[in-house]
């Protein structure tokens, strides 16, 4: 009697339902669009060729598809990187010692700064084809997406409960089975969340990386980013508005067709029932459509059949955590480490010498001075945003009705590429004769301020209701309430948000320090402007110096400011220790 339950998907002979048609239509459209976007990439091109971009709004859908295609290709690469390297780091101590610090450093490298270097390399790799610049754009997007995904996956793998490892041993799961059936599902919810964050963050870069100038050559890949760059160049307000509308639409589609379904679906991978389970209409269609269910079953079976096939190949790095490094003798490890650190030292010296050959100490001092200015700007911006968003975030987080719409709204705003709004600021600055140094600064945090807001909301929503009642009961109100209760309670979440926002600020300064509108070019003092200026002229020693100093600042801040705050947040300000 129970068996009938499990073969319900076999009744395929029945007529198609509306759900089937709707689902099929949506999926086929998406596949077709992506296919077209991909084939357009390989058209012939050599540096200097003009790429024709028009401001006609009719072209915008096509541009949008090309932009999305780049983004998805980069995401696939990010996932591959995550699965390979994060897994490797989690399974082997030696690999961990190299991969994790590498990711840490790479996280602080300003993507937009290295873009010009990447473009030059890629054009050499694919001479005479548009594939070169396309590849460069994809790499830029990839570097904006991949690191936090990899780190989250690595951390998840490291925290798989020991009993699940033991279970895998006792059931004699093959390394592949263990990976796909135990470890990946365990890491899934946090991976999905990070994919979403990565996607949001990378809209900013996809727009910025489509239209760049290298060695005084302008390259504009067809896409929304190039469209808006041209609109700015021609000071065309209407076109800017079109671009913003198109982008709104694209992100809305993305959110509804990709993220909502994924998040809603990933709830099944959580160990406990979750009250935040979000519904997704698109997922409902997919799940109701019998044809999709059948399709999913077939793909699933295909992959599950692949598992035993794969497991024939031995994967030593994937098998058992510690035994791997134990196989090598102590001296081999020492040798390897010496080689590794020696290589690092050599590289650092080489880079420093390369920079110093063409530059003098005055230049270095100047760059440090610029970095300090940018640092102060970031600091002030974070403080300002905190003053604005923390009270609002707490209010929203404490009100169940407000947070229902506010959280998705924040995620949406975070995804929206703030660079599309830059022209509006420039117009305002010109019109009202505002100070360039002061009023271009907000551009840096325009896109990342939402991280503060939505983390604060998330923090406020987990404050236990009884604590609120207790504070009411003892008459803890106004400033005392904030100082002794609300602010400490959201502190761990606030730190995460502020850290993300600050990191984003440094990166954004590269395109926010120099803004254009038609023939007018506004330049603010700061490290970002320095890097952007020399990127356009292709002055590599100066680019390297600028990026190096930016990395240095971001790393110092991470180690001496954020890490201690994080630690404090994790011990003193954790709510669940006492109130469980």
């Amino acid at each position: 009697m129970t068996k009938a339950l499990y073969h319900s998907s076999a009744v395929l002979g029945k007529p198609l339902t509306v759900w089937d048609l709707a689902a099929l239509l949506l999926v086929l459209t998406a596949l077709f669009a992506l296919g077209w976007g991909a084939t357009e990439m390989a058209t012939p091109y050599s540096l200097g060729d003009p790429i024709h971009i028009t401001l006609s709004p009719l072209e915008l859908p096509a541009y949008a598809i090309r932009t999305i295609t780049r983004m998805l290709i980069a995401m696939v690469c990010s996932l591959l990187f995550t699965f390979v390297f994060a897994t490797w780091a989690a399974k082997s101590r030696e690999a961990e010692r190299i991969i994790i610090p590498f990711i840490d450093i790479m996280q602080s490298v300003p993507v937009l700064g290295v873009l010009s270097i990447i473009v030059v390399g890629c054009i050499k790799l694919f001479p005479g084809s548009l594939l070169g610049p396309e590849l460069a754009a994809i790499i830029a997007i990839f570097t904006a997406q991949v690191w936090n995904m990899a780190l989250s996956f690595y951390q998840s793998l490291k925290t798989v409960p020991n009993e699940l490892h033991e279970l895998g041993d006792m059931l004699h799961l093959s390394p592949m089975q263990r990976f796909w059936r135990v470890e990946v599902p365990f890491a899934f919810p946090s991976l999905i969340w990070n994919i979403m964050i990565s996607m949001s963050a990378s809209w900013f870069f996809v727009v910025a990386s489509e239209a760049i100038s290298v060695n005084n050559q302008n390259i504009s890949l067809p896409g929304i980013g190039s469209y808006i760059a041209l609109a700015i160049d021609e000071a065309n307000v209407l076109a800017c508005v079109y671009a913003i509308l198109a982008m709104l639409f694209v992100i809305l589609i993305y959110d509804q067709l990709l993220f909502r379904p994924m998040i809603s679906w990933s709830a099944r991978f959580r160990a406990e029932e979750d009250d935040t389970e979000s519904q997704s209409w698109f997922l409902n269609i997919l799940q109701r459509a019998r044809i999709i269910r059948k399709l999913a079953a077939v793909t699933r079976r295909f992959f599950l059949n692949l598992i035993p096939l794969f497991s024939r190949f031995s994967m030593p790095a994937l098998s058992i955590n510690q035994k791997f490094s134990a196989k090598y003798s102590h001296t081999a490890i020492m040798l390897w480490r010496t080689f590794y650190y020696g290589f690092l030292a050599y590289w650092a010296i080489y880079a420093a010498r390369y920079v110093m050959e063409s530059l003098n100490y005055a230049e270095v001092a100047h760059v440090l001075w610029l970095a300090s200015i940018t640092f102060i700007k970031v600091l002030i911006l974070i403080l300002l945003c905190s003053v604005i968003w923390v009270p609002i975030g707490v209010k929203i987080g404490l009100s169940p009705r407000a947070r229902k719409w506010a959280q998705p709204a924040c995620q949406f705003l975070a995804a929206f590429p703030a660079n599309l709004f830059f022209p509006l600021f420039v117009i305002a600055i010109l019109k009202f004769h505002l100070s360039v140094n002061v009023f271009t600064s907000p551009l840096m945090i325009l896109g990342t301020q939402w991280y503060i807001l939505f983390n604060v909301i998330a923090g406020a929503r987990q404050i236990p209701h009884e604590l609120l009642l207790a504070c009411d009961n003892f008459g803890v109100t106004s400033w005392l309430r904030w100082k002794k209760f609300l602010l400490p309670a959201i502190f761990p979440y606030y730190v995460t948000g502020a850290l993300t926002a600050a990191g984003g600020c440094w990166n954004a300064s590269i395109i926010a320090d120099i803004v254009q509108w038609g023939d007018v070019k506004l330049t603010a003092v700061g490290l970002g402007g320095y890097i952007a200026e020399y990127t356009a002229t292709g002055d590599f020693p100066r680019i390297a110096l600028g990026i190096g100093v930016m990395c240095l600042f971001v790393n110092l801040l991470t180690h001496f400011v954020w890490a201690p705050l994080y630690k404090m947040a994790g011990t003193r300000f954790k709510l669940d220790d006492v109130n469980d």
Partner: protein, 433 residues
């Protein structure tokens, strides 16, 4: 051959590296066999190494010395034919009940159709039918552990290992799951030839086991082996079961050096500086003292009765009785506990005098407390980093044990106002805020 051994361990030892490379012995020279048609229970207080022994038999961790043999073969990795039920269930939340049960068969490349039939049979057997398509998070604790048991049984194991399988369940649920499993075992409805059970619940061991092995700590060794030739199904009201429970408690609370079990023990052995102080908070200790003073018990009690009265298993009870014992608030021996003079004085006292009595007992009887107090008195500023104390402890105790000892001692010292502790700075001091 009659009753061939399923598991045989030969001079099995496990050591851990302490700080400074010193070797800490967790299990010492265990020679042990499990025969066919036997259900063996390992009981012992926390830290006695019984879980380590179970995992070495499972092939999950490798012994430092000695060897485990499964049906004559040396064990170096988990064996087919041995399966395990976990304390925290270890179910995969993203798989349904049926998929969870099928997972082990899938790993053995059992064909899909057969896999499903066997999984459904195991699910039916353990009373889970109707729940096949449920996710674990939809189930109650008892149902979750039934999935764990079905998953272990579906591969038709020769030997079933159970690591405190019922300790995460409430009393009633534990009883119902246990009864269902025992019914299967008694009627021979499962192909399993032997079961090895690790438990904190002595009544559970007495109800289930053919043999009860008492494991004592420092280092882990077999204190005694009791045979239970009591027909099944057993009941707690059976005097033979009661006698067995009493015997286990008596053995677990009687010093091994005592010449005869009927003679009172000689002067208590003095604690060392690095004695593994049990995890017993001040509140629980005073609570137990008050409970013992209850007119019903009048200051002394049979431990099995006390465990029953408080509905504690030994994992919860023994740290407390040991805490009272080393603080000399009570005498614990022969399965009985009795208040000492200090204990009686403590109960009579008011809050402030209680602290004074506690402080006196702490300084007199716990060498580590006295040592830290002396160090603090002698140093300038009367401050000391906890790292120094922890470092010393870790040379003699495993890392988590050292931390637990210091945490408990700080709790005691704060109550006794012997010394203070600053959490943020990690500093012990004589300051009084």
């Amino acid at each position: 051959m009659i009753n061939p051994a399923i598991i045989q361990t030969v001079k099995l030892s496990k050591t851990y590296k302490g700080q400074g490379g010193k070797e800490l012995l967790a299990l010492d020279n265990i020679d042990f066999t499990i025969q066919e048609n036997e259900l063996v229970a390992l009981v012992g207080r926390s830290g006695s190494g019984k879980s380590t022994l179970l995992r070495m038999i499972a092939g999950l961790i490798s012994p430092s010395r000695g060897e485990v043999f499964y049906r004559g073969q040396a064990v170096h990795a988990p064996q087919k034919g041995v399966s395990m039920v976990f304390q925290s269930f270890a179910l995969l939340p993203w798989l349904t009940v049926l998929q969870n049960v099928e997972l082990g068969l899938e790993a053995q490349h059992v064909k899909k159709h057969e896999r499903r039939l066997r999984a459904l049979a195991a699910i039916d057997m353990i009373g889970l039918d109707g729940f096949e398509s449920a996710y674990p998070k939809e189930l109650s604790g008892g149902m979750r552990q039934r999935v764990g048991i079905a998953r272990a049984l579906v591969v038709n194991p020769d030997l079933l290992l159970m690591d405190e399988p019922f300790s995460a369940l409430d009393v009633l649920t534990a009883e119902s799951v246990r009864n269902d499993l025992m019914a299967l075992w008694n009627k021979g409805r499962i192909q399993t030839k032997a079961i090895l059970l690790v438990t904190h619940n002595i009544a559970e061991a007495a109800l289930m086991a053919d043999r009860i092995v008492i494991v004592s700590p420092n280092p882990g060794h077999f204190r005694a082996i009791l045979h239970a030739n009591i027909p099944r199904p057993r009941s707690l009201h059976d005097p033979r079961v009661q006698k067995l429970i009493d015997d286990v408690y008596t053995l677990m609370t009687t010093s091994e050096v005592a010449v005869s079990p009927h003679e009172p023990e000689k002067a208590e052995e003095k604690l060392t500086l690095f004695y593994r102080i049990p995890e017993a908070g001040v509140n629980e200790l005073t609570g137990l003292l008050d409970a013992l003073a209850n007119p019903e018990l009048s200051g002394q009690c049979d431990l099995p009765k006390l465990a029953d009265y408080l509905s504690f298993d030994i994992g919860e009870l023994f740290p407390l009785t040991e805490g009272l014992k080393i603080l000399h608030f009570a005498l614990v021996s022969q399965g009985d506990i009795e208040l000492s003079l200090a204990g009686k004085a403590f109960i009579q006292a008011d809050i402030l005098s209680r602290k004074q009595i506690f402080r006196r007992q702490l300084i007199t009887h716990i060498p580590l407390a006295a040592h830290i107090y002396q160090l603090l008195s002698e140093t300038d500023g009367h401050r000391l980093s906890e790292g120094i104390i922890l470092g010393h402890l870790k040379e003699h105790l495993a890392e988590d044990e050292a931390e637990s000892v210091l945490t408990v001692l700080i709790d005691w010292a704060r109550y006794a106002e012997l010394f203070a502790y600053d959490y943020d700075a990690g500093v012990l001091s004589l300051e009084n805020p």
